[in-house]
Structure formats: structure tokens, C-alpha cells
């Protein structure tokens, strides 16, 4: 009997109480939710930017060092970057100055959004151990065979890479893009050799 009585006098919540509580609950959830989303966005943006800058630094350090060491830049570069007739080069091909005993070449180019670094050698069939210059010809006037020693991805998220300059001063302009975040860097390298 006692239990039944208790059940009947039990009062629930009114409709307005429910609505008010749900409304307050929603406000609280939205508040916390927006905070969470903002934190997430800031973190993503920050880490992407950091990643892009780091990518440029790594690639530029490597390219600059190798261009400085090089004794011969083979790609014909325009003097300025605003000549429509002669736009800046989007890849660079030069002799590797690292080992002067064997002539090898380095080529930096973009493969879609990846920066590729190719280490290339040229040789004639008669003497495959001796590497020759890329434009040399044998006694029949034939060009040498091309041997790709390595070909690796050295940078990601590249949008543009441009080279121009004159008198051994090479300007490099790089633009990286990831999820609408962009980082631009311009610099120069002077070939000391």
C-alpha cells in the first residue's frame, strides 16, 4: 500500500521545466563545443604552418649548399622573374660539386607537389665506369647513356619553385601550400666556385 501511495504522489517535471533545462543544457554544450572546435582549428593551422616552414628550410638548406658547391649550373636561367617571354625556370640541373673525381649531376624538379632530387651520371657503353659530361659525344657523335643513381622525394606540399638570376647569383622562390595554408620564401644563393 505504501509503495502505491508513494507512486501516486510522485510529481514529475512540467513541460516548461523540461524546456528550460534542455535550453540551458544546449547552451552549455554549445559553449564547450565551440571552445573545443576553436582549439582544434588553432592547433591544425599552427602545426600545418610549422610543417610548411620546416619543409622549406630543410629543402632550401640542401639546395643552397649544393648550388654553392656546384662548379657548373647547366639550366639556362632568365635574368629576372618578370620577363613573360622568358619565365623563371621551374627546375634546376647542375653539376654536383661534392665529388670532383667523378662527374655527376643533380636535378631538382617538382613531381606534382613533391620536390624531387635526382643524382644523375652519364657514361659511354665502352667505359661504363667513367662518367662523362652530359653534353659529351663519342667518336660517332652519339650522346652518352644516362644513369640515374638516386631519385628521391626531398620535400612535400610544393606549389611552386622558381629559379632565376645571372652572374652566378641564383634567386630561388618557393611557395608551399597545404589545406589553404600558404608559406612563401624568397632567397638567393651565390655560387662561390
Amino acid at each position: 500500500m505504501k509503495t502505491i501511495k508513494k507512486l501516486t504522489i510522485n510529481k514529475g517535471f512540467t513541460m516548461s521545466e523540461i524546456i528550460v533545462s534542455i535550453a540551458l543544457f544546449t547552451i552549455a554544450i554549445l559553449l564547450v563545443g565551440s571552445m573545443y572546435i576553436l582549439a582544434q582549428r588553432s592547433y591544425n593551422k599552427g602545426s600545418i604552418k610549422g610543417e610548411l616552414v620546416q619543409n622549406i628550410r630543410v629543402c632550401l638548406d640542401r639546395i643552397s649548399r649544393e648550388i654553392r658547391q656546384s662548379v657548373n649550373i647547366i639550366t639556362a636561367l632568365p635574368e629576372t622573374n618578370d620577363d613573360l617571354e622568358n619565365p623563371p625556370a621551374e627546375e634546376i640541373f647542375f653539376q654536383d660539386g661534392h665529388n670532383i673525381n667523378q662527374i655527376t649531376y643533380l636535378r631538382y624538379y617538382l613531381n606534382d607537389t613533391d620536390l624531387m632530387r635526382s643524382h644523375i651520371a652519364y657514361y659511354f657503353d665502352e667505359e661504363p665506369e667513367t662518367y662523362v659530361t652530359w653534353d659529351s659525344v663519342d667518336q660517332f657523335g652519339d650522346p652518352p647513356e644516362k644513369l640515374i643513381l638516386t631519385n628521391r622525394i626531398v620535400g612535400e606540399y610544393f606549389n611552386t619553385i622558381q629559379f632565376w638570376g645571372a652572374d652566378n647569383l641564383i634567386h630561388i622562390s618557393i611557395k608551399l601550400t597545404k589545406n589553404q595554408n600558404t608559406v612563401n620564401i624568397d632567397t638567393s644563393v651565390y655560387c662561390r666556385n
Binding site: G46, I185, Y190
Partner: protein, 144 residues
Amino acid sequence: MNYKKFLNHQQGLSLIEIMVALTILTIAFIGLMQAFPYGLSINKATEDITVASYLAQDKIEELHSLGYDNIATGTPETKHRLSDDQANYLYFYQRQTEVNYVDGNLSNSILDTGMKKISVTVYYTNALSKTEKSYNITTLISER
């Protein structure tokens, strides 16, 4: 019995109390939210410094390519925007270069001492404080 009494006298929080709590919570959150744009602007500042350092390096390499004799002393490059085009990011960077003869103690000299000091300063505006910041690289070049 005690338990039943407790149940009957149970009191919840009033609507006013809840509203006050929520308001305080909101104010606290708004305060905390300021931290995120601030964090992003610091991130931007580091990016600016990296860009500025490469632009300073750019000028130094250019002067190096001229050789010691052809580097004009004084201010070969007065502070100017690196691009006239507002759409180009270089528009927001300005650069000034100064070249001086220096003596053995690295203090400026009027006479040709066989050593030049190149000082490149890149100016840019910080996104957060809207104030102009600068980044300087100084190097020496000697007569060969």
C-alpha cells in the same frame, strides 16, 4: 525515515542560480578563447622571422657575388618595400642595407681597412601588436 525526510526536503538550484553560473562560465570561456588567436599570432611571428632571415640572406649573397671591391659603402639599399605589388607577400617586407669599413675592433672606420661590414635589416609588421619588427644579419667581407 531519515531518508524519506531528506527526499521531501530536497531542494534543487533555482533558475537564477543556473543562469548566473552559466554567465560566469561564459565569461571565463571568452577569456580562455583569447589564448588561441594569440597562439596563432606567435606562430605567424615565427614564420615572419624565417622569411625575414631568408630575405636578409638574399641581400648578403647578392653583395657577396659582387666581390669586395664592388660593394659600395654607405647605404647601398635604403629602406624600401621588396615589391610594389600589394598582392605579393614581399610588399609587407622592407629592407635596408648598410656597408661600412671596419677596423680590427669591428668599429666603423672611414679609411679602407680591407674589411667591410655588411648589415642587412628586414622590417615587417607583427600581426598581433601591429608594430614594426626588424630582423638583422651582419656579416664581414674582407679583401682577397
